[in-house]
Symmetry: C2
Subunit: 788 residues, 2 copies
């Protein structure tokens, strides 16, 4: 009878719609100085000299700091929990400012000034002398003989490489067997995925000031507690000397799961005697100098029976890390795991996974964390196989995909439901797949052609056991029977505050309107939590909430019992028999279990515990969960397209995502989450791509005019459906939902184009230029002559 | 070996000295609207009509609200803990804006505008029609027949009256006996004390905005949790729908122990759709429209033996409450209690205490809470007696004053030390009292005359048992072994943050630099505390801190034991024997009790409890103290003056305060606290006075030019000394120190002038004008003719 599962309104809806909600850039801590970063104009080389003498003369300039002035400390920026085991710590190869320049736009100096104008003017007056090295923007170039080594610990520019083999047979044995079996067909293909940018509305922005000997950094971040740690590490100070505050945030999508400019911001603050300094990136800087989704290539060798059963598969995965480690090898590794998890071959699956440094902007976390690349490649490859063998792609997937009971042999993560099957079945019916697929499954002619395609994925919930999963929650009872709910987990636009409020209402058993969530995280006072990433919060932080509610309820019942036994302001008569175990808290009332009678309201308990003349005991509970569970979420996307061959243009006629994310805490918000993810997936599939000048390493389209983010006019009607297989490990039967929707759209569209045109594009995205090249290659259109 | 008792530097010293510390007025929550209040230009009457039509036309005006638009809700503004017993609740007779005008400057309308200029312009265009009633600014006028009744519940304008009698005999019996005893001398006199203003540097200032359906009010207040409650009551909403934040504060001295304009601020915010509205008073408004120290009159009838022993005393105390109840009768009652506590007569002491409404600015809490008036009157009267009987005032006091073991028969508060004796003795020697008093104790002639005077006082610590005493504290362990210390108790400039940090360092046993206090209170996340008043925080909140530290230490030792038993990142070897009771935490290290060996650092415990891969359990403790103790603090002031008779001018040659506030947590801060109090006491004694026009009720000197606050040039060298009688009930042997220093200076100076000139001024302050009148009356100088 609770509110979990109900379509409750977002708790921040009005504030965000009316503009009342204040973001980092809206708040002013007295007179704030303005910081601007000077970015390198070469992609690979060394700063020989910086002349700031002219820049310092600009009126309003307060301080100029160069790469020669910063501490000689390398720190990691990954939004991962700290590991007490050195071997598991993230690679630390970033400095506050860099003499060794590794990408076009690297940070070489910074200006602090009274205002933006003075800071910008000063930037233009700083003279930098470089020694330049040859530039490489592809992993092949990076690994070629003679390429400059970017980081000491990465010979051949390979950040890390690992491999695995799973399945009942060894690779050798399997290879021998498939080579002798005539019914087995061999496929080999490479799929390349482009780099894309998160394009969150709010750029990276922070301001820092000193409070005593402590640093306060207010930042638009997904991970305040991790930022606290990294700011301290970057300056080699006690971690408790840093406090991070996170106000409302205008999106992050994983870019703000990295520690971006907060350490430099804090350092600049220190350089001006602790005065408040604000550092807000431009859109251009966000593009070329924060993080992006890794460009990757998936090279598959696959042996399949003619009926579609996978027999043996080999993967070589290479991820383009760009200039700095950021999340290191974790994202490629995550994609590598999808290979073995989504499908299991009869004999053996084997993979080699490599992360390679280049002179591009650093790859980092982005919604899906390597899985959009993996699924784009896997699912393109699947349909290429089906296309050649004339198999129904849905049947092919059913034959090979992960089933209930599957346990990843590496991580131990289990499939607690047949979600892949269920999503495919639900989608099949909603989409009318069988009819559509058959209808278009024939050679088409003419300028306008039609096709359907699909893709599936599995996605884990949180990071256990690869990394630590821990979260905490605090509840405080107010005088009116309200519950102040403090989470270390962060609202980043995804609706966390709303679903936590719903969870708390049910877990404590109070009406939803009596739950007041504290949206802003402040590492001094918020319960510890590692932050918003890995679609972990409703699952892991939800567990912390549930545990806290239990302790909180017990404290309430014990206090209520004490009130009843001693009499209280509202009723001097006593009920000495009503020990806590005889009481229950139901919907904001304390009831006697046996009779069901209300004996106290929660407001009475709140008032008395705060203001009792006999026994005040302000009721709070704060609990930590150490999570050692995980669970796969699932989903499928079905797309129908019309392709205009001469125009090289795709129109998405219909697209539907079906998800098994377990029990939905708030179906309306869940649907909204899916809509957002689908739009991201569509952009990934058809238009977005970070394009580097191979000569200079400069990002050519570092703005929203040249970078083709889909607009509302580009969006088809987005359809969503859910299979609510309640998860046995989720605190409320729930599992991952935040990232999954971004995963399957691109390959589903790509596969629909394959059916429509017979052309399988292996080099994403399906932009008109790419389609033109492919259609020419396939002979669908004639190449234009240069004179044309 | 700890830091309690050490002269540690203030934790906020650098920020306040460098200007880095940000106060309410320094922070901007986006674009803020500006609110200004329209104050009545009559002191007694009714608003008939308000015409805002012209004012609304002023560009930039967003909203005008008048007394006809506010909810019909009366609320209390007193900074007292809420009482669940209706009979003990504060008088609620204030509205957000008032149709019934009760003082010159009452709030009748408010303007919200884009900026101050527009708001001020609009104020001038609002037309108000009043019906006027006769004005009364004295209590005699208020109680006279025919005076308009200001509040329904106060016939005769008497807010409240009570009386008591203490002593071994009845009044009748005592009167009969003294009338028959020739050795008993009778004295009768009236002492009147003027109203003064706190004159804190930072005016009342707040801003309010809505966050969802909740109100956030950022305010310069001493009592955030009480402001939360009153804001909610004033708008009749759930208390948990209000959040109060208190940044750094530029002084309060009790004025901000009242809820001033926060409720109106929140209401105005609601009236403009939740946009952020700032309301900052001018200095003039602070003077005429916040609170002040009550003008009071003490009428004594005293029977004394010729040797100085008090036999029977009667007191009639009348306090001028001004227009609204504020703290009600509590302040007069507190002064009334000092009468029976400071001295005990042989037979009987009896008092009638009355609080009376007038058309003045409301009297409220101010440093000393009624005791400066009481002690000024009592100690003036004491020296008048000594002067007439030629007794050494110090000997007189020793003969009559409160001694160790005294228990107040009304409140049960006990004197745990002979502090009054000890302070007098210490002062006697430091001041060389005996010699000085004898030297000046003879008829003096000439223009320049000298005298010494003294005064003593007793002051309780906190409000128990008159009111509830409750406080809470939270401690959080950080990864580096730091302790985040959160108090609900507020730093208001007095040094609370520093002494709490010292207490925590010792109570937890960590170096002081590892304690990081969270200075800002936020009612959503700060532990509950009623606030800064009644010199209660080091005592009551200190108890909460000590209790929390105990629980916190236990959690640390238990986690440390768990680490040792299971191995941890720093050491995989186990020590299965080391249960928590075998461990101790000393100076930031976990030691094995038996050997004294360090087995872990606190930093190791902090890191492991946060990031353990086996068992994270973020260590926090939050505890409430329900305090049922109290203790008298004591003190004495000795002053030496030179009086220039023709100039009517006093020069303070020497002044020394001696205090027994128990163990001093930080002697340097304690001395600074005393200096501040003494300067306030000197201003009270010689220059400060709120002067009302008796016809219009208008405050004539509502600015710092006309109101004679002493400047640094007026200050003599301020000497301080302490008697550190460790208090058995104080958490660290400490008791009240914040308010006491302001109490005894005025009467000590007055008594020194009495010795120098033979003139006892009974109508404070001793301003040149007052001295002129008195010296003329005494024949010391001739009255100037009108022609002169």
């Amino acid at each position: 009878m609770g509110v979990v599962g109900k379509e409750e309104k977002r708790v921040d809806a009005y504030d965000k719609v009316t503009g009342r909600a204040k973001y980092t850039g809206d708040i002013f801590h007295g007179k704030m100085l303005c910081a601007k970063v000077l970015h390198s104009t070469i992609a690979n080389g060394v700063v020989k000299k910086i002349d700031i003498s002219e820049a310092e003369q600009i009126p309003g300039v307060v301080k100029i700091v160069t790469c020669f002035d910063v501490p000689d400390i390398c720190f990691s920026t990954a939004g991962h929990p700290w590991s007490t085991e050195a071997a598991h710590q993230d690679i630390a190869n970033r400095k506050l400012l860099n003499k060794r320049v590794r990408y076009y736009g690297d940070d070489v100096a910074a200006v602090v000034a009274e205002d933006n104008v003075a800071a910008e003017r000063a930037l233009r007056k700083i003279k930098v002398e470089y020694e330049e090295y040859p530039v490489f923007v592809t992993t092949d170039q990076a690994m070629a003989d003679g390429a400059t080594q970017l980081h000491e610990a990465a010979p051949g520019n390979v950040l890390k490489q690992h491999s695995y083999t799973v399945g009942p047979e060894s690779v050798e044995q399997a290879e021998k067997e498939v080579s002798q079996d005539k019914d087995i067909v061999y496929f080999e293909d490479t799929y390349t995925l482009q780099g894309v940018q998160h394009s969150h509305i709010e750029p990276a922005v922070s301001y820092a000031y000193k409070d005593g000997n402590r640093f306060v950094v207010v930042s638009s971040t997904q991970i305040p507690f991790i930022v606290r740690r990294v700011v301290a590490q970057a300056m080699d100070i006690d971690w408790s000397l840093v406090k991070i505050v996170k106000p409302y945030i205008g999106g992050g999508f994983g870019n703000k799961q990295d520690v971006l400019y907060e350490p430099l911001n804090a350092f600049l603050c220190e350089c001006v005697g602790g005065r408040c300094v604000k550092l807000e990136l431009t859109r251009e800087e966000v593009f070329f100098s924060t993080r992006c989704r890794h460009p990757e290539s998936y090279h598959f060798k696959t042996w399949v029976r003619k009926d579609g059963r996978l027999v043996l598969r080999k993967l070589e995965l290479v991820a383009n890390q760009g200039a700095y480690a950021s999340h290191g090898h974790a994202i490629a590794a995550n994609g590598g795991n999808e290979f073995k998890q989504l499908y299991q071959s009869e004999k053996c699956d084997t993979a080699v996974i490599k992360t390679v440094y280049t002179n591009c902007a650093p790859g980092g976390a982005m919604r899906g964390y390597g899985i959009p690349q993996a699924v784009s490649a896997l699912e393109s490859h699947a349909d290429d196989i089906c296309h050649k063998l004339n198999l129904d792609p849905l049947e092919f997937r059913k034959k090979n995909c992960m089933r209930k009971g599957y346990v990843d042999p590496g991580t131990g993560i289990r499939a607690y439901s047949d979600g892949l099957y269920d999503c495919m079945e639900k989608g099949r019916i909603l989409f009318d797949w069988d009819k559509k697929w058959k209808e278009y499954n024939k050679p088409q002619t003419g300028d306008i052609r039609h096709g359907v395609g699909m893709a599936i994925f599995a996605y884990k919930t949180g990071v256990y056991p690869i990394s630590l999963e821990t979260a905490a929650c605090k509840m405080t009872l107010t005088e009116d029977g309200g519950v102040l709910l403090a989470m270390g987990a962060t609202e980043i636009g995804q609706g966390a505050d709303t679903v936590f409020s719903q969870m708390a209402a049910d877990a404590v058993s109070v009406p939803l309107e009596k739950v007041h969530i504290i949206s802003q995280q402040d590492t001094d006072v918020s319960p510890f939590d590692t932050g918003a990433y890995a679609s972990r919060q409703t699952y892991v932080s939800g567990m912390a909430l549930k545990k806290t509610a239990k302790v909180f309820r017990q404290k309430i019942l014990e206090y209520a019992s004490d009130m009843l036994q001693h009499g209280h302001a509202g009723n001097k008569a006593t009920r000495v028999d009503l020990f806590a175990d005889k009481l229950d808290l139901v919907d904001g009332n304390i009831i006697e279990k046996v009779s069901g009678n209300v004996v106290l309201t929660l407001a009475q308990v709140g008032m008395e515990s705060t203001y009792s003349l006999r026994n005040t005991n302000h009721i709070v509970a704060e609990e930590t969960i150490h999570c050692t569970d995980n669970s796969f979420a699932f989903g499928a996307c079905f797309a129908e397209v019309t392709v205009d061959i001469p125009l090289c243009k795709i129109k998405i006629d219909r697209i539907i995502n079906v998800h098994d994310s377990g029990k939905l805490i708030n179906p309306k918000l869940a649907a909204a989450q899916v809509h957002g993810g689908m739009s991201m997936g569509i952009g990934y599939g058809v238009s977005e791509e970070m394009q580097y000048d191979p000569k200079t390493g400069r990002l050519l389209n570092d703005n929203l005019l040249d970078y083709k983010l889909p607009t509302t006019l580009d969006m088809p009607e987005l359809e969503t459906a859910f299979v609510e297989n309640e998860d046995p490990t989720g605190p409320f039967g729930n599992k991952a939902l935040g990232e999954p929707p971004a995963i399957p759209c691109a390959p589903a569209i790509r596969n629909a184009v394959l059916q429509a045109t017979g052309v399988g594009v292996n080099d994403m995205p399906l932009s008109p230029q790419k389609l033109y090249d492919e259609f020419v290659k396939a002979g669908l259109i004639a190449a234009e002559s240069e004179e044309a």
